[in-house]
Symmetry: C2
Subunit: 246 residues, 2 copies
């Protein structure tokens, strides 16, 4: 089996006309969370082994597809996500793929990029030793990233910001119970601009997205109603974007 699929290039492969070079195939994940009132992304430090490209640099979590372990691309992404964060069922969406002759010095390679949203609570626990959260500065992150990962990260941020304008995606960044002002704050952090309170509330409450729990968030001032995501928590698409800044 391995011989047929792999680099070995056995007789069976030759008969099927598959005796030509194959690109490397990887999966990378852009994992977002909110920490300290800022959007963060998870990065891992690359090893320094023999022949490792970009030794010691930071990169998106990911790696080669394992044709023995991974049934499909998404399973591969979920495996890598679980390995680095311990999170098993986040919001996970395919972002796109990047493939070229030169993005990896080891040869023609293509990566299938995913992006995931996880709540802050999950973000603090169970991190792999080599993984670390970095705050987003604009469209990028402080350290220089390996491969074309800066470009992939930028695409992920763009996609996230864009979708937040007309979907309920930030709900997946929230803990199990949250207030409407907290949800609005999350939207504002991702979008990096303030939103109208009343329009925001109208939109969220008229969507079939959240339901109140019989509790309030107590604080130094007026308590706020707590909500949770409804059971069937598919992302909601709104018919309008929030109005653009100008």
């Amino acid at each position: 089996m391995a011989a047929r699929q792999g680099q070995g290039g056995g007789a069976a492969a030759r008969a099927g006309g598959l005796d030509f070079p194959r690109p490397l195939t990887t999966v990378d994940i852009v994992i977002f969370t909110i920490r300290l009132e800022a959007l963060h992304v998870l990065l891992v430090r690359r090893g320094q082994g023999e022949g490792e490209p970009f030794p010691d640099a930071f990169a998106l979590p990911g790696g080669f597809v394992d044709v023995a372990k991974d049934a499909d691309l998404e399973a591969c992404a979920r495996r890598k996500l679980a390995e680095k964060t311990g999170v098993v069922s986040p919001y996970l969406e395919q972002l796109g793929s990047w493939g070229s002759a030169h993005r990896d010095p080891r040869g023609w390679s293509a990566t299938h990029a995913y992006f995931a949203l996880i709540p802050a609570s999950a973000a603090e626990a169970a991190l792999a030793a080599d993984a670390q959260w970095f705050p987003l500065a604009g469209m990028s992150v402080k350290p220089k990233l390996a491969f074309d990962h800066a470009e992939i990260l930028q695409a992920a941020v763009r996609r996230l910001r864009n979708k937040v304008e007309y979907t309920s995606l930030p709900a997946y960044l929230m803990p199990e119970e949250f207030t409407l002002p907290e949800l609005q704050r999350t939207y504002e952090i991702v979008l990096d601009r303030p939103l109208e309170k009343s329009a925001f509330r109208t939109r969220m409450l008229s969507a079939d997205l959240i339901e109140p729990v019989a509790k309030m968030r107590k604080g130094p001032n007026r308590p706020a109603q707590l909500y949770r995501l409804k059971a069937a928590a598919a992302p909601v698409y709104f018919a309008r974007t929030f109005n653009a800044p100008e």
Copy 2:
């Protein structure tokens, strides 16, 4: 070079830790056009050579990435598009990737899917001998497709219909000069529902998308103003969707 990247698995590859099976890597394209007042997709008939999976079935145009010829994935997609249609600069967008152990009987394989929009005029000319247009019936097409191409096609139709609600994508299905009612008709064909004339006109004319040419479309009744896409023809994103049917 080939030995390092390919199935041969030479010493260099082994030193880099790359001596493991690699998935097959392909690119497939969903090419849409409007013909005879209906959305059509281009399919090719598969060969019947030794070891060819799905012999004689119809499939999306595509094939293996050629690590020698293709600089990157998009170049590969453009090459395959040009080979089948002769079209060189259509609207081309990455759709997603599909990869699993079982989608190709020859082994673990991953395809990078693109979708393209081409005008009817280009659709009639320069078709490859094995390529053929098929009208869309709902989300699919009459013949049974090879691999998981029915699923990919469905994703493409879904994405197209979805984006047409709030973008100017149908403009890329139009000939160089067209009238507003013709553009509206194209929207209606893709969405499979009628749109409001006045709202449609307001939306299109206030977007920085089209400009009138000093000509009219003559017909059996009142002539219509002809328009063309403006030079910088990036797709326009509208702030609202057209209102849903109910």
